[in-house]
Symmetry: C2
Subunit: 195 residues, 2 copies
């Protein structure tokens, strides 16, 4: 197990309905030292990639993205989520459907902050069915930029998001991929990854 | 002018209705080096304070809080905003009214992540009428913790939030306090602060 898998086993909680609570260190309370470890690991996995911007989506991706940005020496842009449709043409907009909440949202980025010169690393805390991520990819393409890679903290490997993204040819680096969880025993099985 | 005031003059945009857009570096695109400067300055201003947790509120406070936390060697907790009232008793909840959007929201923190042992630094990007901040203070008190200080990037000095918070006796350190703005000329006047 790597450092993140170990932390998930130690402080994560498995709930009914394939819910994995990691709010003690990842997406409510946030362990900044852990985020720096994640940044170091993604920097290693994306060696040779020419990344000049990190794009994430509010809210729980922002903290990870900011700490990770220090390892790539680049600014962060976070996409905003909104139900509103009152957009003034200065924004890139993608429609996404939340797996957790079963709601439709828009993911929005100002055109000022993404251009054809941008080589983008996408960062988020969770990947399940991947709709939010697909929205971010759509926005980078709309701007004429390049998706250099995708860094996810925890991927639910038993859902379709990761497979779709890899099928599309993107370098997706999930630091922990959960293959299965058992809410009764609390057991978590991770996918074996090559170090 | 300090480093943040200089940056606001350089990259901020004054809009009608006392709106100051700082989305190029603070709350949409985020300049991580700038956030580290802010962390250094707050560390200096809160010298001698025994801070073991930073509390902020989603979404635009999170990035600043995470970078600043590196200067205090502590974890960050971000309060969630929600319109929902379906709370299960495991949460601290405060009602807040947004100045910008004229909506009522709840600010929510899990009881697991704030206790009477916590000496808390509150961090946010903007302070206007201060309702969100009052909600965070309410939550720290509900947990039995101590508010050691409040760090704000940009305070609108012509609104009431800052005065209320200082009247209550809190050490509020706003790195830039805007006294007045002129949307026609773009001029921004800052309150003189002792270095």
């Amino acid at each position: 197990m790597n450092f993140l898998e170990e932390r998930i086993v130690k402080d994560g909680v498995v709930k009914e309905g394939d819910v994995l609570k990691v709010d003690a260190f990842l997406n409510h309370q946030m362990d900044i030292d852990l985020f720096n470890e994640m940044g170091k690991e993604w920097k290693r996995r994306f060696t040779g990639k020419n990344i000049n911007k990190i794009l994430t989506v509010e809210a729980s991706g922002i903290g990870i993205a900011c700490i990770v940005a220090q390892h790539f020496n680049c600014p962060v842009v976070f996409a905003k989520k909104s139900k509103s449709i009152n957009i003034d043409g200065e924004m890139y907009v993608a429609d996404v459907e939340s797996f957790t909440h079963k709601t439709k949202n828009q993911v929005i980025v100002s055109k000022k902050f993404l251009t054809e010169d941008d080589h983008v690393l996408l960062i988020d805390d969770f990947l399940a069915n991947g709709c939010a991520l697909q929205g971010l990819i759509q926005i980078v393409h709309a701007a004429g930029g390049t998706v250099e890679g995708i860094g996810i903290a925890v991927e639910k490997g038993f859902q379709t998001g990761g497979r779709i993204i890899r099928n599309l040819g993107y370098q997706l680096e999930s630091l922990a991929i959960v293959e299965s969880m058992n809410a009764e025993t609390g057991e978590i099985v991770f996918r074996q990854q090559n170090a």
